[in-house]
């Protein structure tokens, strides 16, 4: 009897931890997706200036890559700047 109560607690604990991890993962996924979406919007406006041709030019591809990576660099700088205050 005691054993089964312990087992019950163990099962509840496991289920709880599992749900917590899953929730965190879902929140992370939502954040990543939102960031990619926002960044695409910003970099699209910056890099894709012409009407869409049959294919991206290599310049536009490079611009998109640079835009995303510089945005990351900027986020680091801003985070550091806030830490200083």
């Amino acid at each position: 009897m005691e054993n089964s109560a312990e087992m019950q607690r163990f099962i509840e604990f496991t289920a709880d931890s599992y749900l917590n991890i899953t929730l965190q993962q879902e929140q992370q996924k939502a954040m990543v997706s939102e960031m990619v979406g926002k960044l695409t919007s910003v970099c699209w406006d910056k890099c894709i200036t012409s009407t869409p041709g049959s294919k991206f030019s290599s310049g536009e591809t490079t611009c998109l890559t640079n835009c995303a990576q510089r945005f990351l660099d900027m986020s680091v700088i801003i985070a550091k700047r806030f830490e200083m205050q």
């Binding site: 996924k29 997706s33 979406g37 991206f56 835009c67």
Partner: protein, 80 residues
Amino acid sequence: MFISRPATHSRSSGKTLLLGPSPLPHPVSATTVGSKCFAKCVTKPGSSLSGSKSSCISRCVDHYIEATGIVSRALFSTTR
């Protein structure tokens, strides 16, 4: 890249737990891509969408999705 994996989670027992991680939500929303491509392709709205405008829009949507892939690779690829 954003193709969803099946929502299953394998355990070491070999059994499959159905309550698994969900697929990554797609970062491109129809409203966003719509406003971007409307701005690019429909500069002077006429009485109907001409053929050239609709083909511009479909190219634009493809490009926008491609751009999303490029941005996400730039952010998350390990070789920077």
